[in-house]
């Protein structure tokens, strides 16, 4: 893809320009101070759901039937810390990629919005990390080999922003539900609510940008190359979804053979349904644009 071509495509796209304007204004109007916004009680009660049970990895599985209510609560607590940890790592990677591109050729026009994006993501990363460290006493780790290398350079930006979009949509599936879930503590609902509010803008932006970037890639790539992109994105969807199933979480919740449980859950029929519902909107978008 040529950067100049991307600039041209963006600057001729009135719809995208209008959306960029609206989203930038909204970022300014909705701006808040995250460092003052949350109350952060000393502790949160252990004997309750920390994550909507329908969003936990054991939901609807035979494995869940072998666990007591107390174990399920504990599991939801560790899974919630894992979920916010995934956010911390995901945000680090996307900040690196967006920061690399701000005010460079091809991204002149969206750079104004990138400032809001980078600022907001930094704040998200702070409150997610804060939650993990306060209530979980740790951030779950990711191995270094998992920080993502990009397969091919001329489609690099497309893949970067498609990945960011997939990640944000996955997270938003959880945020939008947990924000409204009355079984959860108010602190948990609040961080999910605030994040959902900011992410609605990021997702709207991401869909537009990915569409424009793909328009350019489509014109300059062979069918074979397009198939490779589709395969990569399909694998990225699976990879993102499977990162919810963390053996360290199962270990922390006192389960004896965490790797066996992980495999059992990933192979269970409930997983198929769960994955489909998490990526329902995302897959629809990616299919409609022809990316997968």
């Amino acid at each position: 893809m040529t950067s100049r071509m991307v600039s041209k495509l963006i600057d001729q796209d009135d719809r995208f320009l209008g959306i960029l304007d609206r989203l930038t204004t909204k970022s300014i109007d909705d701006y808040y101070n995250p460092y003052k916004l949350f109350e952060w009680p000393q502790s949160l009660p252990a004997a309750m759901w920390w994550m909507s049970p329908e969003l936990t990895t054991t939901h609807g599985t035979e494995a869940a039937e072998r666990l007591t209510q107390e174990q399920l609560y504990a599991l939801s607590r560790h899974e919630s810390i894992n979920f916010y940890s995934l956010n911390v790592h995901g945000i680090r990677e996307l900040l690196i990629e967006v920061t690399k591109r701000i005010h460079t050729t091809g991204f002149e026009t969206p750079s104004e919005f990138f400032h809001h994006f980078i600022g907001e993501e930094n704040e998200h990363m702070w409150f997610f990390a804060e939650f993990c460290l306060r209530y979980g006493r740790k951030i779950y780790r990711q191995p270094v080999g998992a920080s993502v290398e990009i397969p091919r350079s001329h489609v690099e930006s497309l893949l970067v922003f498609a990945r960011i979009l997939i990640f944000e949509e996955l997270v938003d599936h959880f945020n939008s539900r947990m924000a409204l879930d009355e079984r959860l503590d108010e602190t948990i609902r609040a961080i999910n609510r605030i994040h959902h509010q900011d992410e609605s803008r990021h997702i709207a932006f991401g869909r537009e940008l990915v569409t424009v970037l793909f328009e350019d890639v489509k014109r300059t790539s062979s069918d074979e190359e397009l198939k490779e992109i589709a395969d990569y994105l399909r694998r990225y969807l699976t990879f993102s979804f499977e990162s919810l199933y963390n053996p360290q979480v199962y270990r922390d919740a006192g389960i004896e053979n965490p790797l066996d449980l992980r495999r059992e859950l990933l192979e269970s029929p409930a997983r198929v349904e769960f994955e489909r519902s998490v990526f329902r909107k995302t897959s629809k978008f990616l299919e409609k644009t022809g990316l997968i």
């Binding site: 191995p143 270094v144 080999g145 990879f239 790797l259």
Partner: protein, 82 residues
């Protein structure tokens, strides 16, 4: 089973690449795209499953994951028979 060790890891990689039937001990897994960033975590879990040892994510040395023989040396050295 810990004694199967590295054979389990090889079988796991081959299971994900139906086009392949063998992997030489010194073939670079990352350069040959048998393993990439999206399958790296799964490889770590496969090694944990085969060795029975928990791998510390914080101290992972990517060099240990380059080839089957480096994996064997790093994670299965004590159980090597042949």
């Amino acid at each position: 089973m810990a004694s199967a060790g590295i054979d389990d890891v090889r079988a796991w990689i081959l299971g994900r690449h139906p086009d392949r039937t063998t992997i030489a001990p010194d073939e670079n897994l990352i350069e040959s795209r048998l393993v990439d960033s999206l399958s790296f975590v799964e490889l770590v879990y496969a090694i944990e499953g085969a060795s029975g040892v928990e791998v510390d994510f914080d101290t992972i040395d990517i060099q240990d994951f380059q080839t089957l023989s480096s994996i064997e040396k790093a994670f299965f050295a004590t159980t090597r028979i042949a």
